[in-house]
Amino acid sequence: MESNKKYWKGLEEYKNTPDFVENNKNEFAEPLPIEDVLSEAGLSTVTPRRDFLKALGFGLGAVTLAACQKAPVHKSIPYLIRPEEVVPGIPNYYVSTFKGSPVLVKTVVGRPIKIEVNPNGGMFSTGTDAQAQASVLDLYDVSKLKAPVLKKKETTWSEMDAFVKGELNKAQASGKKIRIVSSSLNSPSAKAVVADFASKYPTTKHVQYDAVSYTGIIKANENSFGKAVLPKYNFDKADLIVSFAADFLGTWISGEEFTAQYVSNRNHKSLEKKKMSRHFQFETGMSLTGTNADTRVPIKLSEEGPALIALYNAITGNNLAGAALPNNAYATKALKLVGAELLQNKGKALVVSGSNDVSTQILVNAINAAIGSYGTTIDLDNPCKRYEGNDAEFAELINEMNRGEVAAVFFLNSNPAYDATNAKAFTDALTKVALKVSFADRADETADLCDAVAITPNYLESWGDANTYEGYYSVVQPTINPVFNSRQAEQSLLIWSDAAVQDYYQYVRNNWEKTILPSVGKTWNELLQLGVVSSTAKAAGAYSFGMSLEAVVASISASSKALQKDIELHVYESIPMRDGKHANNAFLQELPDPVSKVTWDNYIALAPKQAEKLGYKEFDLITVKGENGYAVDLPLLIQPGQAMGTASVALGYGRVKVGKAGDNVGKNAFPFVTFNNGTLKYATTAKLSAAGGREELAQTQTHHSFEGRNIIRETSLKDFLKDPAAGSGNHHKHKVYDLWTTDKHEKLGNDWVMAIDLNACTGCGSCIVACNVENNIPVVGKDEVRKRREMHWLRIDRYYSFNDEKAGHEVTKEKEIAHMEDLDQVSVVHQPMLCQHCDHAPCETVCPVLATVHSSDGLNHMAYNRCVGTRYCANNCPYKVRRFNWFNYWNDSRFDNYLNNEFTQLVLNPDVTTRSRGVMEKCSMCIQRIQAGKLTAKMEKRALKDGDIKMACQQACSANAIIFGDKNDPNSEVAKALRSERIYYVLEEINVQPGIGYMTKVRNIDSETKEAHHA
């Protein structure tokens, strides 16, 4: 019994284009040059027998001689003085903080190689994002500067100090302004340093601006409740979540934390309690959050304001003007339904908006106040301190510089020459400043324009701290000595302000011992072990909204009108690249976008019908011309679910001075961002025209096709409550045929298996990066991805399906809303796909050299040194999870940005071999971790406990969608999960007996998914 729903991964698959059909027949994208050989140099030329024998003889001789070479001499160089805590072969773990989230850093003989979850992290302890996972590679980035730079020449710190101090004194004497420009600084010690600096040089002001800004929310809260803060959102307390273009599972404020909260109401544990939250998403482009929503309603950017007004009217019974959505009947109906449901869920609902417009956010505040969110799902008393930027202050800075009032400017973790919307105005104004200092680790776009680049170390080489929430503090501690001649920005500022304590470590420690540690009753050493301290959270107060909304609504309507021209352009942060600060990180560049599955590029996304209407084909180059005249050529991606009349472009690409890997990848979209009403706006308009030409995007989307087999199983909550096995196909099993009826292999010891909860997986992709880092998986680059040669052991397949599959289906209220005749209306399922470790593995039987064989604990082993590269196994794998090494990625200058470099190779995990050319590889179920876990238990002479061994992907997953363990232990998490009635095995009908069970996707929609019997 299976659903008759049709799933497809891309439009070419849905439409079954001839190209797709042709490509799909082949296992590998590149045709093998057999025909060339046969036609040209092969059969037509005659190779005389003697030549053949000569070649044979020479070959044999050469091989023999080659084998006779002496074994190379290996040198072994021990420490001169071994640090007490280092034992070669045993990793050390240090707590630290990455961008405000506590992490655990794994180091081997002094080099950090992996970021893991800090179990003391509290609200952040569930997982890490892709950026955090990839951040170890940033440390070993060869594009960084190796010494401080003064006037474009390498210099020493003493010369740098003399120069900067001299200039500062001049600035001081002239009485002109000094500005420190940074992105949001949530480090209490760094803030104290800036304050110290300001007291030495009183004309100093600290300007915080974020490339992707949250000023709108902060200003709105100041306006509505007198609190200029970013609130703490509690998605775990919300039974009903309504999001207007806020990508809260991905990029919005704190994606990982929100994911954990959100999933706690939707995962298998929650479903066992018959409980699941409901999530509506109104948005323009298809975001990660949108793909996870129960109901996703595409709206234009210009419709967001009216939609919120309509919702406000529906909840409060008011009749504010401008609530009409004349061209979107679907959204109108959905808003009515949402309004009614919000009223039913008062105090258990949450409305969020991704807009950075103050008026819009004030309206959202009004809605949230009306449904009683304050004090429950929104907490204004323990605010979030991740973002504190003020867009207007930065705009004013440009004016100040233009007026010649600024004598010195310092850039700390900010790069306005790249990411300011009016970068040109900024760079022009910058020339009028006498002293320009950048604290960057490389000569980036801004640093390149500065007199001095006081190079800063990576966070893994630094001391510091973070205060992410009120009362929640974490420490940054170095895990390696600075590799280059760098110095922390804070230390430079301390030195330049002649502070009493100039060593930043001492400064941080003093600061903690004076202010934070006494209040939480911990010592510095305890802090260095825990990484995190928090004081008891204040009680979240309820806030009522008492303002008049007239002016607000007028402003919203005006902005909405302004957007109603040309194509409405939505610029957004993509999940791999975010704001572009890590653009030189090859792991992130090669991480496929969770929705479009595009790597190494940004693009302009249009709805299928829109593209058809404009006469564009996929991958056509389109000139996108913004309101300010800025124009770029971007390849077109046809994106189902994109609202008609809109286009989306990702930020973070198009950097030109970031380094080898990231330079000139994609186009910069920051100049499209507009600044009005005091905040940056990511909704704007653009004119499109065909640029001529075509550029194929490196998409992993349809690389692995399933020929329309039934591999996704889903159901609705309603059906699930009636029958937990609904949609899983478990009621009617296929008859299975078994080749090995007599030869049964018992798994007597452990049986390593996995359960993956499709209802928990949001598709964010941090597991992919975690897997890459853990298993030394090479980055192959754009061209190779185009040839379907990406090496990822773990991928996340994204399937589209129509919300309304079959005409004449029983139409419920919900169905009515969901009814659509075109591709705008799609729902999405994310399915992590990795080696299934089948007990009857088809790959094993076809290997002529027994390089891949089964183990007694249920794993499918891959002996690389035995593999001769026939690739039969990949051909025979029904899951298409085997990856072939087409090159020696670690010894090939074409892949210079990652493995092929002595310095970046320091990131490799010494417990995992790097694979050679001509060898097949695939997920090993982190066998190095299994073996290490077993050994620890053996050494301690105890039984292995459930949870002793964690997979890299499992560890990184904030949603806990991946559960790993021993099936033979009936009390293990995974054994329990696999007993769930939602469990199904992908392609179980072919009886390969996979070791990974998937739990059905459950959608909280009112329709009943009818199951049709499979013949």
Partner: protein
């Protein structure tokens, strides 16, 4: 002139007699003291003191000669008490190093006097014979090569001379006008030619050749990449025989890794310095032994001033003796901790031998370390097949696993292979 020399003789004689007399009286007692003193010195003092040079404590020979017993005895017994009592000399002496000297309240005055006596005299100079013996030993290998070379040379000389003689003979005969009858060399080639026409002979020869070359080839192929006996020259002539054998230092004192990590770890130089700050094997000319000097050079240590200079550090590049390919994962702790009992049994080690000897061989007899085991996969597998790990039955980790297996393998011994120890992925990942 004569008178003077006579007088001088007289004086010299009497002096000699007096000296001999006094030596006779003293020597018996003194020899006894020196032996005891030496033992005590080695036991109590040598960890911090050298005789001739400063180390943790000052050089003893000059100090003992300079200071007086009345002060030295209470100082050695309990220097802290002496310092505390306000003895100025003691306070001054305690400033030598921040490391406090240990108190020795159990030593008797006589014992201390013995130590002082020994320390004053110092170590008797090394006997020359020992030095010569060492030189001989060093030359022995050379001499064999030399002898062979001489033999070969003389053979060549003989042949050349023989030819020359023949030539000369001919010349003489020719001059004398005697006809030379050439030897019939044709017969030999004809004979060989006939032999080669004999099919049986040819077949037999070819067969022999094939068998001999084939077996050499076969053996050679099995030995390809196998480096048993690999004994590279190391940058420092470190002798395991001396350290692990004669001095009986436990393996783990230097190799701290194997019982907790996958790596055995080559000791860092601070471990060497624990002993070699004092043990300097001083040469006759008073300089530190050149091999120990290499440690000092690497770590930037100056024995004269006892200071370290970070800028002079230069790590030692040892040559790896045991090389496993990168695709094979080997973990020492897995074997020497978890598998110790089974390995001891399998390899028949003496209970007194460290478990390391199972694979590394009798390291305590190796002057230069060599690879004892072949380190081939076959060698690994054989042990995994044979080793008996039944002793693990009471180990909580194995209890369930072994119980399950026993059901099907009743009575057979339990080996790593039975528990999956032969599967590829257990070592190759």
């Amino acid at each position: 002139m004569r008178n003077i020399s006579l007088n001088f003789k007289k004086v010299w004689k009497s002096a000699f007699v007096f000296a001999a007399f006094s030596f006779l009286i003293l020597s018996g007692a003194q020899a006894q003291d020196l032996v005891e003193g030496k033992t005590l010195f080695k036991d109590k003092c040598a960890s911090c003191h050298n005789l001739a040079t400063n180390s943790t404590g000052p050089a003893l020979t000059p100090k003992m000669n300079e200071l007086d017993e009345a002060y030295l005895i209470p100082w050695i017994k309990n220097n802290l008490a002496l310092t505390a009592s306000g003895n100025k000399q003691a306070i001054e002496a305690s400033k030598f190093s921040p490391t406090e000297m240990k108190a020795f309240p159990t030593l008797t005055d006589d014992q201390i006097k013995s130590i002082i006596a020994y320390a004053k005299v110092g170590e008797p100079k090394k006997e020359v014979a020992a030095g010569e013996a060492a030189v001989d030993e060093g030359a022995s290998a050379l001499s064999i090569v030399g002898i062979i070379a001489i033999i070969i040379l003389s053979i060549i000389v003989l042949i050349v001379l023989g030819r020359a003689v023949k030539m000369l003979e001919r010349l003489i005969l020719q001059k004398q006008g005697i006809e030379i009858v050439e030897e019939e060399s044709v017969s030999l080639t004809v004979g060989v030619g006939r032999l080669f026409k004999n099919k049986k002979f040819v077949f037999f020869t070819v067969l022999c050749l094939v068998v001999v070359l084939g077996s050499f080839g076969w053996m050679g192929m099995w030995e390809t990449g196998v480096h048993t006996g690999y004994k590279p020259t190391q940058p420092i002539k470190f002798s395991h025989e001396l350290h692990a054998g004669i001095n009986q230092i436990d393996c783990q004192y230097c190799h701290t890794g194997p019982f907790k990590s996958k790596n055995a770890t080559i000791p860092s130089l601070n471990v060497c310095m624990n002993c070699h700050k004092n043990v300097q094997a001083v040469q006759e000319d008073g300089s530190v032994s050149p091999e120990i000097q290499k440690i000092y050079n690497a770590i930037g240590y100056d024995p004269a001033t006892q200071t370290y200079d970070k800028t002079k550090e230069k790590p030692i590049e040892w040559v790896r003796v045991h090389n496993l390919p990168d695709f094979a994962y080997f973990n020492h702790s897995q074997h020497v901790v978890v598998g110790e009992a089974a390995i001891r049994k399998e390899k028949g080690l003496k209970p007194t031998d460290p478990v390391c000897f199972a694979c590394h061989g009798p390291v305590n007899t190796m002057e230069e370390l060599e690879q004892h085991s072949p380190l081939t996969m076959k060698w690994c597998i054989n042990c995994h097949k044979d080793a008996d790990i039944s002793d693990k039955k009471d180990d909580a980790f194995y209890t369930n696993v072994i119980k399950a297996h026993e059901k099907i393998k009743k009575g057979e011994k339990i080996t790593p292979a039975l528990l999956g120890g032969l599967e590829c992925g257990k070592c190759h990942y």
